[in-house]
Each structure stands twice: as structure tokens, then as C-alpha cells.
Amino acid sequence: MADLSANSARPEIGASAPGFWSRLQQIPRYYIYLLLAMVVIWQILFPIFLPITPSATTRGLEEAIRTVPEGKLVLISADWDSSTQAETGPQTAAVIEACLRHHKPFVLMTLAPPMGAKLAHNIASEIAKRYHARYGVDWANWGYKYGTSNVLMAMVKDVPKMVGSDFYGQPVKSLPIMKGVRTVKDIGLVVEVTGLAGMTEMWIGLIQGPQGVPFSAAYTAVMAPGYYPYLDSGQIEGMLVGAKGAAEMEVLIARPGRGMAIMSAQSWAHVLIMLFIIVGNLGYLLARGRERRG
């Protein structure tokens, strides 16, 4: 059985005679780094939007938001921080936009990294301004709530009591948006935005399953594949996968924004990496061909 020695590190075929083809196999890594940086910066500044077809999972989330019954809240659980911001930030923004576009009142909450409350708050205030949505009436931020699963259990019976005060430290009972919100059943949809494993299991185990509150999620691209089984079983109604999901949501609600720009940078970076792989293989094949002949 062949070694698992990386097909990589040691001498390349044809390396002894540094012809053009063999040089294609050994592009110095600095060039790769430089080109990648240039492509990303270029696309962030001058994005070339590519046609995006929304996937079934994103359509599921859009529909879930659109069909939230009158008088019920959308709860966006923003459980992320700067480490996954490039994906979860646009996702949060896209979900907020979808709520505002469909005139659904929403609240933000953060269970895991405390920093998430502030980051999501900044995004929400910025978007709300564009829609002339008022804090406390059309949306609110419950802030960071310590205690993860204990928070969820406390929420079942009495939401205002669990929340206590909002992001600004004022009692939530005083907010017009909270009028009529008593138990967890007054929440029409939970959208979990996160890069953390375990949050979904908690929501499904404690709220979606036992209380029947619809649940959707937005995940980083790395962790999303693990959650398809929940999607198949209907426990997750819809899901955004990475920045791609955010871009698809923006297409669905016809609001190209940060997700689209990030996706164009992503696309061209992927194309660049694939080109490098192809060039490397071409170099390898041609150098090998020349070596056999000569």
C-alpha cells in the first residue's frame, strides 16, 4: 500500500531541468498569496455580480419569515462574534432585511459570545434607519442573556421575565413591541445565526420540539452540512449556508447588499484557486510527457 506521504512536499517531476512546464509546477507561494489578495480586494471594491439562483434551503427561510402570523415576533438569535463575522454578519443583515421587507416585527438576542449583541445591534440599527423602522416598535434588542439552555427553559413560561431589560438596560415591558408577548408561543419564528455547534440542538430540544415554535437557522459554510438531517425532517424550516445563503436571501428580497459583494469576492477567489490547480496539473502532465519522450 502506498504511503500517505503527501503527494506534495518532495521533489517535483522534471524539477532537475527547469523548463517552463516544470516551473508551472513550482509557482512560488508569494505569487499565489499576492494574486489572491489582489482578487479579493478588487472584488470588494468593484464587485462583478454573478447570477445567483436561490437554493431550496434559502427559499425555505424566506418563506418561513413571510408566513409568520400577524402579531407574532421573529426572534433572531445572533450567536456570533468577529471570528465568523464575514459570514454571519451578512446573514444577520439579510434576515433583518427580510423581516423589515415583509413587515414582521423582530427582536435580537445573543446567547453565546457576549460581543454578538453589540455587533448585531449595529447592523440592525443601520438597516432599520433605511426602512424608517423605530426601535422598540418595529424591532428591539434583548441583548446578551447569560445561561444558554437555562435561558431557553426560562423563556418557555414567561418571556418578559426572562428578558428583563433590553440592550440599553431599559425594562422590556415598557417597549410597545413586547405588548402581548407572554410565553414562547408568542414568537412566530426563531432564526439562529451562528458558527457554534450545539446551539441548534438546544433550540430544537427545548423550544422547537416541545413547544412547537418554528425554527430556522443561518450557519457558517463549514458547519452547515451537519444540519441537513434536521432540515430533511422538517425541524429546521429553512437555512442560510454561509455568505452564499446571505446573497441568495438578498436576491429573494431583491436587495443586493453585502452578501452579494462577498459572494463575488468568494467566486473569483475560488476560480483563482482552481486555475492554480489546473495550471499545476498542466505543468505536471506536460513535464512528464517531455520527460518520457526525451
Binding site: M1, Y30, Y33, L36, A37, V40, I41, I44, L45, A56, T57, S82, T84, Q85, A86, E87, G89, T220, A221, V222, P225, Y228, P229, L231, D232, S233, G242, A243, K244, G257, R258, A261, I262, A265, Q266, A269, H270, I273
Partner: protein
């Protein structure tokens, strides 16, 4: 923006660019930043060990609630420091023994929650099942393709597992069959590794996009109106 915010902005930008200099090679700037980073992390570790762990879990119960027996915790913890004495090192080993035991015990606890769902999720029926209540995939597919997928799933799982059998020589009739299965398993492993690699690229590029957005919009954009306008 306040003076502090400006200082934070510039420090963050310089730190970011400084770290990127390591892409060329390990250099004096990256070395300096490395030491600053390690220093900050060590300081932060001490602070959080007190504020998030010891203060709440140890000091408060002991001093505020009068549970004096918590004083035994540092006694055991300090046993670890005896590794620096050859004569007393065995006491450190005693403390380590606690953690060895815990490591094993915790694994015994994790075994089923971690792996039993994986075991019964592998019980895939190998014949068509017409059950509208439980569609097996989100893409609507013909029944026969679902059956093929299940066969494939089982084949991949079992051949991969056979790759990790170490104590049977790949000789003789049965051994050669095992060898073939292991080779198949190895190929499936390579496909899986390639897929994982490809699936990670996007997340990693995202990280850099996040930094570029910071540099262009938050930092430069603060000074260059043109960039700020392009900011999203």
C-alpha cells in the same frame, strides 16, 4: 470618533498588516507582534482565570458563603508544582492521577452520546421503501436512486472501517479480500478528504474578506471618502 477609537483603529490596522508580513517570511515585525500577542494572551489568561473561574467558583463560595473546605482545591492544585522537585514529584503524579481518571471516565460518558446516533443512523434499508412521511433527501428523487444512495452509503462506511483493521495480514483468500476492501476504503477516504478540503475553502476566504473589509472600510474608509462611499 474619540482619540481612543482612532488609536484602536490604527493599532488594529498595523497589527493586521504586520501579521500578514509573515506570508513573505518570519521577520522582525512578525516576531515582535508574535511576542506581543503571546504576552497579551498570557495576561488575558490570568485575568479570565480569576474573573471567570476562580472568583465565581472558588473565592466567592469559600469567602462569601463560608465554605471553608474549598481551601483544599488550591492544595491539590499546588501539588502540580512539585514536578520541579525530584523527591516530591510523586505528589504531582498523584494530582495527575486524578485527571487521568477523569479523562478516562469522561470518555466513558461521552461514548454513547457521541457515537450511538452514528451507529443507528447507519441502519439504511437496502430496498425501496414507500413512506411519504419520511422523505430521505430534500431533493426529490426517484425511489431507485434512493436505494442506490443507501447501498453506496453502506459500501463506503464498511470499506472505510475495514481500512482501520490493523491486525489481519492482507494475505490468503480472506486477507486479500480485506486488502481490496481496505484499498477501496482508502479511496473513499481520499474523496472525503478532498470534499472536506473544498468545503473549507469558502470559510477561510471569508476570514480574509472580513479583514479586507476592515482595512478598506473601517480604517482607510475613515479617511477616504471615496472608499467610505463604496463601503457596504
Amino acid at each position: 470618533m474619540t482619540g481612543t477609537e482612532i488609536a484602536i483603529l490604527w493599532a488594529a490596522a498595523i497589527a493586521t498588516l504586520g501579521v500578514y508580513s509573515i506570508l513573505y517570511r518570519e521577520n522582525p515585525v512578525s516576531r515582535l507582534l508574535e511576542h506581543i500577542f503571546v504576552g497579551l494572551a498570557a495576561g488575558y489568561l490570568l485575568v479570565t482565570t480569576w474573573t471567570q473561574n476562580l472568583q465565581a467558583k472558588w473565592w466567592a463560595p469559600m469567602v462569601d458563603s463560608g465554605r471553608w473546605y474549598w481551601v483544599f482545591a488550591p492544595v491539590i492544585g499546588l501539588l502540580f508544582y512539585f514536578i520541579y522537585s525530584r523527591r516530591l514529584a510523586w505528589l504531582a503524579r498523584l494530582a495527575m492521577g486524578i485527571y487521568f481518571g477523569q479523562a478516562a471516565g469522561v470518555y466513558f460518558r461521552e461514548f454513547f452520546p457521541l457515537y450511538s446516533p452514528q451507529i443507528w443512523a447507519s441502519f439504511k434499508p437496502l430496498r425501496p421503501i414507500f413512506d411519504a412521511a419520511a422523505p430521505p433527501v430534500s431533493v426529490s428523487l426517484a425511489w431507485w436512486s434512493v436505494v442506490i444512495q443507501n447501498w453506496l452509503f453502506v459500501a463506503v462506511l464498511l470499506t472505510v472501517m475495514s481500512y482501520f483493521i490493523f491486525s489481519v495480514p492482507h494475505e490468503g483468500k480472506a486477507g486479500r479480500a480485506l486488502g481490496k476492501s481496505a484499498l477501496m476504503g482508502r479511496w473513499f477516504l481520499m474523496i472525503a478528504f478532498g470534499a472536506m478540503f473544498g468545503n473549507t475553502v469558502m470559510a477561510r476566504i471569508s476570514l480574509f474578506i472580513g479583514r479586507v473589509q476592515f482595512l478598506l472600510q473601517d480604517w482607510l474608509g475613515h479617511y477616504v471618502h471615496w472608499l467610505a462611499q463604496r463601503g457596504m
